[in-house]
């Protein structure tokens, strides 16, 4: 008998309160997703190149898991409280019939257990499915099929999901059961909405609202203009002020809503307008704190989703090989490598093989004052021209000697970047023989250089020096062109005038980062031999995976095969895979956690709003009966309910949109959101806004339908069953 009751009650809970059950399922699914991260294809793939960072990332996952557990505990607590509130009358009846409270709590726990088991089954299935989809989507986006797919099912993840969920569910039920103990039977039987309709004093409310607005304003100002002051401490100030401001704002606003009801006389006689506003007010004013908390959660989720999305959009740049040419760079005994690369097993993977020689220029034999070695290069003429080309404000700084160091960024004008690089590098510039660079130019299908014996070309490394266009440098070319017309030489090396070749296409010299230089002089081969400091000489064999092979098998698969062969050979080498893996890691690590937390916050906020609203509908159901006695039509009441739902969601969401926009703005301004050009911000903002709106919409519709259902269930025939 008893077990039947438990079973039936559990079944009814699931049926009647889909939102409650869905909340449990969502909680479980999200646990599983975070716990099974280590089994995601991308992570497994990355583990091969970036195992240290991946291990570090995975080591942090338990923290994320605990945090999620902590957050979802409150969600579960809230959902259970709602569920128990709905049933308080029933509990009162059990007690009235003589059931002992202890037994009632035990029954609740047993019911909770059955519901939990079913929620676990559903949640794990959904979580597993989602994890699988995420895994497949990401690996598809990343590897076009090369990342081998493995079922992401993870026994450990399932185990910890079950443990974590059951424990929070039982803690929540135990807390709520304890509370049941304390309530009197009468309270349970006749539980109602708080009858308090204390709307405070007008001035007090206005002051609260104003205080809230001021706090928010200060928080926005701090976020936008003073974000990084005092070692980022102001960030916390902004968050604290923003949260406090939101709470105060909601409190004042909620209580003042009554004004809206009484002021708009024209509207107040139209249908259920007054009723709708008052219902909304009751929901907001009596629970201003939790409305404010949902608003804060939505704000955070907007910011996190925008951040995660922008990082993920950075995925494109992972594939963009704008400046990278070579797939592999091998370093070591030049001849042995050449032999190995020409060997039968290796040969199919090698194309555009090129030996990159590099070394620094010698100094003058005599030393200057203080024993500082003197440069062979005299570029004063070029320097002068470049200073002339600088924007005025920089020009003054340079001429007055104010600038001590240079930073290179895409924000700077090209001339400044160029000037900075040359100013730092030209004392003993790196030298690259013309033939080496010609190999690279050939590989990318460009015209090779044909330098005169007194001609050099300037090389700038696009990996370190941001440039708008890899093919040419207009500012430099302008200066060079002018000099060429006048037949002037802008530089001399070893007291011999040299002429500078117009700018050439710039590409990365090696596959990843074995050569980390800002600039170099590309010189005729004889000049290289003559000027190069032999102690600094290094040579790298660079090659690419043949285009044909890439067309057949994609880039990554042959690259992995070649990598395995090279690994076995024992040579020092690096590959584009590392470059790719590193970039991918930043994207994946950056976007996974933020997107996860973003969605989690959003779902928690939505569930809280939904349950809160449905609790109100449930508790104030009698009002709708009264309305119907006064002649309100069913669809009139449903319309009112739908408007209430809309307002309930809209209020926290609109404030969250403003705060979220400020947050995103601040993050862009302080380069936490990685957006290369501002224009790409808008689609990201739009996309994340759409996701948030869609999720809110789903919840809104679900709530409205549940409320309709609740309305239909009301006893429309008072006193008679």
């Amino acid at each position: 008998m008893f077990s039947k009751l438990i079973y039936r009650n559990a079944k009814r809970s699931r049926k009647e309160n889909l939102i409650y059950f869905a909340t449990l399922v969502i909680a479980i699914a999200s646990f599983y997703i975070i716990l099974s991260l280590g089994r995601q294809d991308v992570i497994l793939f990355l583990k091969e190149f970036e195992s240290d960072s991946i291990d570090k990332l995975l080591a942090q996952m338990p923290i994320v898991y605990l945090f999620a557990l902590f957050l979802l505990f409150f969600l579960i607590l809230f959902a259970n409280r709602y569920q128990l509130n709905r049933r308080s009358k029933e509990f009162g009846l059990y007690l009235l019939l003589g059931m002992r409270k202890k037994r009632l709590v035990l029954q609740l726990l047993a019911e909770g257990f059955i519901t939990s088991i079913l929620a676990l089954i559903a949640g794990l299935l959904i979580g597993g499915f989602l994890a699988e989809i995420i895994s497949l989507t990401v690996s598809k986006l990343v590897g076009q099929g090369i990342i081998g797919h493995q079922i992401s099912l993870s026994a450990g993840a399932i185990f910890f999901t079950i443990i974590g969920f059951l424990s929070i569910q039982f803690i929540a039920l135990a807390i709520l059961g304890g509370r049941l103990f304390k309530q009197e039977v009468h309270q349970l039987l006749y539980e109602q909405m708080d009858k308090k309709q204390d709307m405070g004093h007008f001035t007090g409310n206005v002051l609260t609202l104003l205080a809230g607005a001021v706090f928010l304003g200060v928080a926005y100002w701090v976020a936008l203009y003073r974000f990084t002051d005092i070692a980022g401490l102001l960030l916390f100030v902004a968050v604290a002020l923003g949260s406090l401001g939101t709470v105060l704002f909601m409190r004042g606003f909620g209580k003042l809503l009554g004004l809206l009801a009484s002021l708009s006389k024209n509207k107040s006689t139209k249908g259920l307008h007054t009723f709708t506003v008052r219902q909304f007010q009751e929901n907001v004013a009596n629970r201003s704190t939790s409305v404010a908390v949902t608003s804060i959660l939505i704000t955070l989720s907007i910011i996190l989703i925008a951040d995660g999305a922008s990082t993920f959009i950075g995925l494109e740049s992972v594939f963009a090989r704008s400046s990278s040419v070579y797939d592999f760079t091998v370093n070591g005994d030049s001849q042995k490598i050449e032999q190995f690369l020409a060997s039968e097993k290796m040969e199919p993977y090698v194309e555009d093989l090129n030996l990159l020689k590099i070394g620094r220029m010698k100094y003058k034999d005599e030393r200057g004052e203080n024993g500082i070695p003197l440069s062979l290069v005299d570029w004063s003429a070029l320097r002068e021209q470049m200073i002339m080309a600088l924007p005025d404000n920089y020009k003054e700084q340079v001429l007055s000697g104010e600038i001590q160091s240079y930073s290179f960024s895409s924000e700077n004008p090209e001339a400044l970047n160029l000037f900075g690089v040359l100013e730092t590098d030209t004392t003993a510039p790196y030298l690259i023989p013309e033939s080496s660079y010609n190999g690279l130019l050939k590989a990318i299908g460009k015209k090779t250089l044909n330098l005169h014996s007194d001609e050099i070309a300037l090389y700038f490394n696009p990996d370190f020096m941001p440039m708008d266009n890899l093919e040419s440098m207009p500012v430099l070319d302008h200066i060079l062109e002018k000099a060429a017309k006048e037949g002037k030489s802008l530089m001399s090396i070893h007291d011999q005038a040299v002429y500078i070749h117009p700018s050439i296409p710039m590409r990365g010299l090696v596959a990843d980062r074995s050569v980390q230089i800002f600039s170099a002089f590309i010189v005729p081969d004889h000049m290289f031999e003559q000027l190069m400091n032999t102690e600094t000489y290094v040579a790298y064999w660079n090659f690419r995976i043949p285009q044909k092979l890439q067309d057949q098998e994609g880039l990554l698969k042959p690259m992995m095969e070649a990598r395995d062969l090279l690994k076995a050979s024992g040579f020092t080498f690096e590959s584009y895979l590392q470059n790719f893996g590193r970039k991918l890691f930043y994207v994946v690590a950056g976007s996974y956690a933020t997107l996860y937390m973003g969605f989690l916050f959003l779902i928690i906020a939505c569930t809280v709003l939904a349950l809160q609203f449905l609790t109100q509908v449930k508790q104030t159901g009698q009002r709708y009966v009264t309305l119907s006695m006064l002649g309100a039509k069913r669809n009139q009441m449903k319309k009112s309910i739908h408007r209430q739902v809309l307002l309930t969601f809209l209020l926290p969401v609109s404030l969250a949109c403003v705060s979220g926009a400020v947050g995103i703005r601040a993050m862009i301004a302080f380069v936490m959101i990685h957006i290369d050009d501002k224009a790409s911000l808008y689609p990201i903002a739009l996309a994340s806004a759409c996701i948030v709106i869609v999720i809110l919409g789903i919840y809104g519709v679900a709530v409205a339908r549940s409320a309709d259902h609740e309305l239909d269930k009301l006893r429309w025939k008072p006193n008679i069953e």
């Binding site: 309709q197 009484s262 107040s268 249908g271 007054t274 009723f275 008052r278 309305l627 006695m629 309100a632």
Partner: protein
């Protein structure tokens, strides 16, 4: 179409509960008329069917057979849309537990039926002031129900009920939740509304005291009308009260069933 000045006609009303083998006849052929301006009371012991009767008239439940005519229209056959038009505008309700919406102020509660039926507030302004003055609730119009006493709540409910000028007011134990003083004040006001503005009121009550304000009382028992009392033209309320008590004592074959 108004038939000979009858406002409400209840014709052979029957209401059964339960299924085939286990039928309870809550109303077993009740017929009576209500004339305009009447203050009609319906009394009877628990389970006599008086609430069922009121609910049938209130169109909250559908009778098994029989008709309820308001101004000659069979409102018991109305569908829910037509009913909504009637409720609150042509028929006013007064409940035992007031049924005020506690998140609306007194005034908002009173005006609610108007806004539901889309009546312009400006026209109702004078009406509101008049009603509030008469019912002595002007001071509490801007208070919430939780800040009012029981008697005040019921008078606010009464104002809400009269604001739409309904043809008939159905009151279900309106004094049931009030103390004697508040109950008397309320009944005085209802009687006043009935006398001065000619409001038709149909009241169900247990309370002989409250019933003594009526001009006519129907006693029902076991689903049928059992007796009828009319207050004579010059009869005092006290005398009428005595007569009511006598009838109640006879109801159900003795005092055991009463009260």
């Amino acid at each position: 179409m108004v038939r000979q000045g009858k406002l409400l006609e209840v014709q052979d009303l029957q209401k059964n509960y339960g299924k085939k083998n286990n039928i309870t006849k809550a109303l077993n052929g009740v017929s009576f008329d209500v004339l305009p301006g009447e203050f009609l009371g319906i009394m009877g012991p628990s389970g006599s069917g008086k609430t069922t009767l009121l609910n049938c008239i209130a169109t909250i439940i559908k009778p098994t057979s029989g008709r309820v005519l308001l101004h000659g229209k069979n409102i018991s056959a109305f569908d829910s849309k037509d009913l909504a038009e009637y409720r609150g505008s042509r028929i006013g309700f007064l409940f035992q537990d007031f049924e005020l919406l506690d998140n609306l102020t007194g005034q908002e509660n009173i005006l609610l039926p108007l806004s539901i039926h889309g009546v312009d507030f400006a026209k109702a302004r004078a009406k509101l002031d008049e009603l509030a003055g008469f019912l002595e609730i002007t001071d509490i119009l801007h208070k919430f129900p939780s800040q009012m006493s029981g008697g005040q709540k019921q008078r606010v409910a009464a104002a809400r009920c009269f604001i739409t000028d309904p043809d008939i007011v159905l009151a279900d134990e309106p004094t049931g939740a009030l103390d004697t003083r508040s109950a008397r004040t309320l009944m005085n006001k209802l009687e006043g509304m009935n006398r001065t503005s000619g409001r038709t009121i149909l009241m169900v009550s247990h309370d002989p005291n409250a019933a003594s304000f009526c001009s006519r009382i129907l006693f029902i028992q076991d689903g049928v009308i059992f007796h009828e009392l009319r207050r004579k033209h010059d009869e005092t309320r006290e005398k009428f009260y005595e007569r009511i008590l006598q009838v109640l004592a006879q109801l159900g074959g003795g005092s055991a069933n009463v009260l």
